[in-house]
């Protein structure tokens, strides 16, 4: 196992962005995801390996710890920040085709709901696990989801809602998407929803945590 990739996965797991970042305290002064990714590319490590053997294992570990309530939102956000810093270096390689993403995931908070913390967390975790993520933001209508899936055939759609007052909008949006582009898969999440609700509104999957979305996508894009 490449030493740099092991270090990189640790940076992602513990949220070490760059050497200047004071977080996490136990890694103070060490190189972060920023420096290590650059160094790995300079020393000729395959961009695909950086993604799949460096970033993804780190993201997976923090995702599992989050699911097990061993870490909370702040730690995941720092991991995601470290990951997106690394991704900036990798982006040219995705564009050139030297590295490939596993599939496309479209995410948005449903119409009427302006909350984005949970939606952003999922988006960042999914991206960190090797997917292209299209974030439509908050208060997203059926039309916007449909337009995005038409532009990105075979993308999976993720719907988020925080409020008991807006979760009901998931039903119409799910139906509209499936009417417009039959076969599109819809996964839902958010504090008030559960698998029973998912089943009732005709969505395809419910995940209680971001890692669950990643696992669902890994099965669907396998």
């Amino acid at each position: 196992m490449n030493d740099l990739l092991t270090k990189l996965s640790d940076c992602i797991e513990f949220g070490k962005i760059n050497s200047a970042s004071p977080y996490p305290p136990q890694m103070k002064g060490q190189d972060g995801a920023d420096e290590i990714t650059r160094l790995a590319l300079e020393t000729g490590v395959n961009p695909q390996d950086i993604l799949s053997k460096g970033l993804m294992p780190g993201m997976e570990r923090v995702g599992i710890k989050f699911r097990e309530n061993k870490v909370f939102v702040p730690q995941v956000l720092m991991s995601a920040k470290a990951m997106s810093t690394a991704m900036l270096h990798l982006k040219p390689h995705f564009l050139s085709g030297a590295a490939k993403q596993k599939g496309t995931f479209i995410i948005g908070t449903v119409l009427g709901d302006l909350h984005d913390i949970g939606k952003n967390l999922v988006g960042m975790m999914v991206e960190g696990n090797g997917y292209k993520v299209i974030d439509l933001g908050t208060d997203v209508s059926s039309e916007k989801f449909i337009a995005a899936v038409k532009e990105n055939p075979n993308a999976v759609i993720g719907l988020s809602a925080l409020l008991t007052t807006t979760m009901v909008n998931m039903e119409k949006i799910t139906k509209d998407i499936k009417d417009a582009v039959p076969g599109t898969l819809v996964t839902i999440g958010g504090a008030p929803v559960n698998s029973d609700f998912c089943h009732k509104i005709g969505a395809d999957n419910y995940s209680a945590d971001p890692q669950g979305v990643v696992e669902y996508l890994n099965v669907k894009f396998a």
Partner: protein, 303 residues
């Protein structure tokens, strides 16, 4: 509004609590507004200007149910949330109106709590600075005081830093008592943590140090788990008054409608236990109605 009653000058919440009284707070606002026709995508706080009579009805129904205090329709009345609706220039008007409506319903004998919710901006992600947060909470608190609230209730907080800044801003810029409640989930190990990982014990000293007069928990749990949260606070602090706004259980979805499972009797049935655990003010959050508050009031009165 004309002929507005003065604020409750008779007493302060903490003086009532020090007399050994258990006080009853109000129930849900969001789910109630919806029942009155609030549409998805509509700004709830704008109703203070456009539909003040409907907002007044809600406040009044809780007063009639026997509540000792009523909140204001201003949970999302901060600059950032209002900006989502293009109403960021009306922070003062909207919050002042919210306070005036609840004051009118409460009269001079009951308390009015000015509701302040989170901004939705994360300090950690550098979406906002501490100074910006402070000023946003300051502006909202000042407007609520101008409309006649007795206390500011900062609620549904999950980030301790944001909660501390809000408490300071309310304390340093108004003469109101300051209450702060956070929202906890029961995690896998059976402990309680906010989404950001804060425990009730961790919250306690930090909020008191920031200047909170009363602390507690709202939303996220029904009464049963709130009892555990009260016990945890009491383990680290015997004195600080505790306010609990419990949900009527966790939401369930049926035939296009969201419902909450706990009946007024279910809620009232836990009141004695939560008082024994150390709670001083008991009210409701999502899914609770005037009927819930009425039954809680009956139990509290009988104890």
């Amino acid at each position: 509004m004309s002929n507005l009653p003065e604020k409750n000058i008779m007493s302060k919440l903490i003086q009532e609590i020090q007399k050994g009284r258990v006080l009853v707070s109000d129930g849900a606002w969001g789910t109630f507004l919806q029942k009155k026709g609030l549409n998805p995508g509509e700004c709830p706080e704008q109703w203070n200007i456009t539909r003040p009579n409907d907002v007044f009805d809600i406040a009044q129904s809780y007063i009639e149910a026997g509540s000792d205090m009523v909140e204001t329709n201003s949970f999302g009345g901060n600059y950032f949330k209002l900006k989502g609706y293009g109403l960021q220039d009306q922070v003062f008007e909207i919050n002042k109106a919210a306070a005036e409506i609840s004051r009118k319903a409460a009269g001079t004998e009951r308390f009015v709590l000015g509701s302040v919710g989170p901004t939705g901006k994360l300090l950690l992600m550098e979406e906002v600075t501490e100074i910006e947060l402070y000023n946003v909470f300051k502006d909202q608190s000042i407007a609520l005081e101008a409309g006649g609230v007795d206390a500011i209730v900062i609620e549904t907080m999950t980030d301790l830093e944001e909660a501390r800044i809000a408490v300071k801003a309310a304390k340093e810029n108004t003469g109101c008592e300051v209450i702060c409640t956070m929202t906890f989930d029961k995690i896998l190990g059976g402990e309680y943590r906010t989404m950001m990982g804060i425990s009730p014990a961790e919250m306690t000293e930090a909020l008191i140090e920031a200047g909170a007069d009363i602390i507690g928990a709202n939303c996220g749990n029904g009464m049963a788990d709130m009892i555990g949260i009260v016990k945890e606070i009491r383990k680290v602090n015997a004195q600080i008054p505790i306010l609990i706004h419990a949900n009527a259980g966790m939401p369930q979805y049926c035939d296009g409608e969201t419902t909450f499972p706990e009946t007024p009797a279910d809620m009232a049935g836990r009141v004695k236990e939560i008082i024994d655990a150390g709670a001083n003010i008991i009210g409701g959050c999502c899914g609770t109605t005037p009927d819930h508050i009425c039954e809680v009031h009956q139990i509290v009165k009988s104890l």
